[in-house]
Symmetry: C2
Subunit: 499 residues, 2 copies
C-alpha cells in the first residue's frame, strides 16, 4: 500500500509532552479544590444513547452531536424504507419517523434513527442527570459530584474553539440551599487563584431577576422571558444596538426596550445595583426573590471571610456595603446564559487580562434537570471550568510554573557495550531511589547522547568509559552549567534528590 | 415530553466515586513508573480519520471500528449513488469504491465511505505511529512516549470485555537497542509490584523464534509463519488438539505439527529452553538471532540486579543459570501475539492468582509501524497495560489500599440558620488549611446530617447549636467511635491534620 500522508480530523488536536503536562497541571489543580470542598468524582461513557442526548440542547445542539453508525448491517433499515416503503417493526418506536417514501426524498434527520443509535457526549450535565436517575438508589443526597472529561461538538472549528474539548464540572443535586452557590463561587475563586489567574471577573445574575426584568418591561407577555434570555446572551457579541434591533424585530416595543436598558445599565457596586433594582421590582415577586438570593450569597461570602476575632459577635454581622467583597464577584443584570434549563442563580467567569478575554467558566441552578429522565423535583446547581480556554489564557499570560513538566534527572551515556553493562546496576540503583533516570539505548557517539539529553532538558549526564570503569569514579556533567565532577554513585543520588 | 427510562449503550459503564478513585490509583501508579523510566506523555484525539485506522487491524478490526456519521447532509453522496449511479467527484478517490449500482444492492462496507470519514480510536499504537510521522520534526529520537487513554471496539460485550476501555502504553521508537526491551520488562515488573500484583507471569518470546520454528517444521513454506502465528495465538482458548486440528485443516503435515509441539513443549527453566532450541535451530539464522536476543535480555536483567559490591568485577559477569531471574519472566515458545506488525521480541503478562487468569498486558517490537504513514525504517518496541483487566484482578484479590478514596474529613452540622452563619468562617478556616471539609447545605435534622456524613464515610462531625455559639466551644463527634469532645477550632485543625 502506498504511504498515506497522515492527518487528524479538523477541530481536533494532538498534545505533546509539554502540553499534556500543562493540561494535567490545570486538571489536578481544579480537582484538588473540588475534593477540598467535598465533591466526589464520577465518569460516564463517551457514547450515550441518542435518546439520552437528543432534545436536550435545542435544535442547534442536535445538529452538533457526533453520531455513531450502528454496528453490523447498518443499512438494513434504510434499505427497507427505500425498497418497500416500510418501517422495520423491531426498531424503537419512539425513534421512528412515520416516513414511508423513497430514500432520495429522505432528509438526513429523518434517516438518522435508521442508522445511528449512539452519539458522543456533548456536555457533562445531561450525562450527569442521566447518571443520577440511573443510580439514585446508590447515591447519598445531596450529591456533590465532579467530572472531568472531554466532550465533542461538530461546531465549525475556529481559533480557540475545538470539536473535542474538556469540561471540568462540579454540581450539587438534591439541595436547594444557597450554601451550594456559595461553595461553587468559592471553588471558582480558589481554583483560579491557585492557577494564578488573578485577573478574572465572576459575573453573577439570576434567572429570577431576568424574569423580574421581563415582567418589568412588559409584564403581560410571558414569551418575553426566553426571547430576552436568548437575546441578552448575545450582548457581548452584537452590542446594545444589536440587542435593541433583535428585540425590536421580535416586536418588543420601543419603551419596553428602553426599560430593559435602564436596568442593565444600572451602575455602581453590587449593593447599589441590588437596591436600585429593588425599587423597580416592587410588583415582581419573583424578581424580588432573585434579589434576595443574590443578597444572601454576597452576605454569606462576607460571613465566610470573617476573621477569627470577629467570631464571638458575628451573629449580628450585617451585609455591609463598606466592606469589600472578598472575591471579585460582580452582579451583572445582563448576564443571561443561553441554556434553557437554568432557573435560579447563574454565573460566568471571564478572564480580564491579556488579549483573550475568554469566558473560562460558567454555570447556574436548575430545578428539574433529572425530570426528563423520570426523577422530578430535584434541584441542583453546578459550574463548569473550560480546560482549553483556561489553557489558552495561562499560556498567553505565561502563568504555568516552570517545573510543570516532569523530566528525567540523569542520563547515563556509555562509550561502548562494556560501559553499558557497567552502567545497568547504577541505573537500577538510581531508579530504586525513585529518581527518573535513563540510559541512552546503545553506544552512540557521546555528542549524540548529550544532544538527546539537552533536547529532553535532562539536567545531568553521567558519562562512562574505560577510565570510569577502572577507577570506579563516575563523571557527572551538569548540562546547564557545562561543569563536570568526579563523583560516586551514592553522592549522585544525594545530589539528584536535593536538586 | 414523557420521562424516558435512561440507559447507557451496551458494553459501556458508568463509574462512581469509588471506582474512579481506584482507576486513578492504577493509572497514577503506572504513570509514575513510566516517568521514572524517562517516558513522556502524549495524547491523541478520540476521533481519527478512517484512512488512518482502516487496514491496520485486519478485516476483523475494520469491522470493529466505531464510525462517526459525517456532519451536515451525510446522505448526499449516498443518494447520488442511488439516483444517478454516479460517484461524487469531490470525494477522496482513495476511499471510493467504483460502485455504480443501486443503494439496495450496496453492502454496508461499500456504502461506508459515503457517509463516514472518522472513527473512534481503536488502540493507542496506530495513533502513536501517525503522531510520530506528523510530528517527526519536533520529536527527539529515540522517542520514549507513554499514553493513557480510552479506546473503543464494537466487540460483542461479555464479562470482562467492554466496548470502551483504557490502555496505558509505553513505546520507544527510533532505537533498535534491546535495552529498550529491558526497560519495558522492568517497567512491567515495577508497576505490578507497586500495585501489589505479585503473582504474575511475564511471558516472552520472539517473532524471530516463531520464524525459526516455521522454518524448522516446514522450511520451504513461507506462508506457514503467519498461519502459525494466528493459530498459536489461540492455544489458550482451543488447546493443543485445537491447534493441531486447525493446522491440519490448513494442510500442515502430521510430522510438521509434531515438530511444532516438540518445540513448544520443551520443558525447563529459561536457559534450558534456549539451549534446547539452539540445537534445533542450527540451520535457522533468524531463529538463532531470536535466541540470542532473548539471551541478551535475560542477561541484562541479571546485570541490572547486580549488587553494589559486585560492581568492580562486574565486567566478567556471565549469564548464569544458577542465578534466579530477578523478575518472574518466562520464555514461552508458544506465545504468538496475533497482531501482524510485530517483528522481534513479544511479551504478555498474565495474572496467575485468583479466578481471572487475565492477560493484563502485552507488547512487542515492530520494525516498520510508521512506514505506512511515510516514515520507513523506524524500529520501535512497546508495551500496553490493560487498565480494566488490572482493575478486575485487583478488585478480586482485594489489592486496593484502604485509603484510595479521598474523603471529606469533617462535616459541620448546624441546628439552624444562625448556626450556619456562625459556622461559615470556621469552615473557611479549615479549608484554608487544605483540609477537605463541608457544611451540610441547610439546617436539616441533625440525624439526617449525620447519616449523610456516615454514608460519605466522613470521619468527624462538628455540631453547632445555641450552646456552642454561646460558649465558643465546639462539639466534635468522632463518627467511627461515636465519642465526642468539646474543642476549639484550632485544635480541630491540628487533629484533622494528623489524622
Amino acid at each position: 500500500m502506498a504511504a498515506q500522508k497522515p492527518s487528524i480530523p479538523k477541530g481536533t488536536r494532538d498534545f505533546g509532552p509539554e502540553q499534556v503536562a500543562k493540561r494535567k497541571y490545570i486538571l489536578n489543580t481544579i480537582e484538588k479544590v473540588f475534593i477540598k470542598y467535598g465533591f466526589m468524582p464520577i465518569e460516564t461513557p463517551t457514547m450515550e444513547n441518542l435518546s439520552t442526548l437528543q432534545g436536550k440542547y435545542g435544535d442547534e445542539g442536535d445538529q452538533l452531536l457526533f453520531k455513531i453508525i450502528n454496528s453490523g448491517d447498518y443499512l438494513k433499515e434504510l434499505k427497507e424504507v427505500n425498497d418497500k416503503g416500510l418501517v422495520h417493526e423491531e426498531m424503537d418506536k419512539t425513534f421512528l419517523p412515520s416516513y414511508t417514501g423513497k430514500l432520495s426524498d429522505l432528509d438526513p434527520k429523518s434517516a438518522l434513527p435508521f442508522i445511528s443509535e449512539k452519539g458522543l457526549r456533548y456536555d457533562l450535565t445531561v450525562p450527569f442527570a442521566r447518571y443520577v436517575v440511573m443510580h439514585q438508589n446508590e447515591i447519598t443526597f445531596p450529591f456533590k459530584r465532579y467530572q472531568m472529561q472531554p466532550v465533542w461538538r461538530a461546531d465549525r472549528p475556529q481559533k480557540g474553539r475545538y470539536r473535542e474539548f474538556w469540561q471540568c464540572d462540579a454540581d450539587v443535586v438534591g439541595s436547594d440551599s444557597l450554601l451550594n452557590e456559595l461553595d461553587l463561587i468559592q471553588i471558582y475563586d480558589e481554583a483560579f487563584r491557585e492557577l494564578k489567574i488573578e485577573n478574572y471577573e465572576l459575573k453573577i445574575n439570576s434567572r429570577k431577576i431576568l424574569e423580574g426584568i421581563s415582567q418589568y418591561v412588559g409584564a403581560s407577555k410571558q414569551e418575553y422571558l426566553s426571547l430576552l434570555t436568548v437575546t441578552l446572551d448575545k450582548l457581548d457579541k452584537i452590542g446594545e444596538d444589536g440587542v435593541a434591533k433583535e428585540l425590536s424585530d421580535a416586536l418588543f416595543l420601543e419603551d419596553e426596550i428602553q426599560k430593559l436598558f435602564e436596568i442593565i445599565n444600572i451602575k455602581g457596586d453590587n449593593l447599589t445595583k441590588l437596591l436600585a433594582l429593588k425599587e423597580k421590582f416592587i410588583s415582581s415577586q419573583v424578581g424580588l426573590k432573585g434579589i434576595e438570593e443574590l443578597e444572601f450569597i454576597l452576605k454569606a461570602l462576607l460571613d465566610s471571610a470573617r476573621s477569627d476575632s470577629q467570631l464571638s459577635n458575628s451573629l449580628t454581622h450585617q451585609f455591609n456595603n463598606s466592606t469589600n467583597q472578598p472575591i471579585n464577584i460582580k452582579i451583572d443584570f445582563s448576564l443571561a446564559r443561553g441554556l434553557s434549563y437554568y432557573t435560579g442563580c447563574i454565573f460566568e467567569v471571564v478572564s480580564t487580562e491579556g488579549s483573550l478575554k475568554s469566558s473560562i467558566g460558567g454555570g447556574g441552578r436548575y430545578d428539574n434537570l433529572t425530570g426528563i429522565f423520570g426523577l422530578p423535583n430535584v434541584s441542583g446547581v453546578g459550574i463548569s471550568f473550560g480546560l482549553d480556554r483556561i489553557y489558552d489564557v495561562m499560556e498567553e499570560l505565561n502563568l504555568f510554573p516552570e517545573s510543570v513538566q516532569s523530566t528525567t534527572k540523569i542520563l547515563f551515556c556509555c562509550f561502548d557495550d562494556k560501559a553499558i553493562n557497567f552502567a545497568l546496576p547504577l541505573l537500577k540503583k538510581v531508579r530504586d531511589e525513585g529518581i527518573a533516570s535513563e540510559i541512552y539505548p546503545g553506544a552512540a557517539k557521546i555528542k549524540k547522547q548529550l544532544d538527546y539529553a539537552n533536547n529532553k532538558k535532562i539536567p545531568f549526564a553521567c558519562i562512562i568509559g574505560d577510565n570510569e570503569m577502572q577507577s570506579g569514579k563516575l563523571v557527572l556533567k551538569d548540562l546547564n552549567s557545562g561543569t563536570q565532577q568526579e563523583i560516586q554513585i551514592d553522592e549522585i543520588i544525594k545530589l539528584l534528590e536535593n536538586s
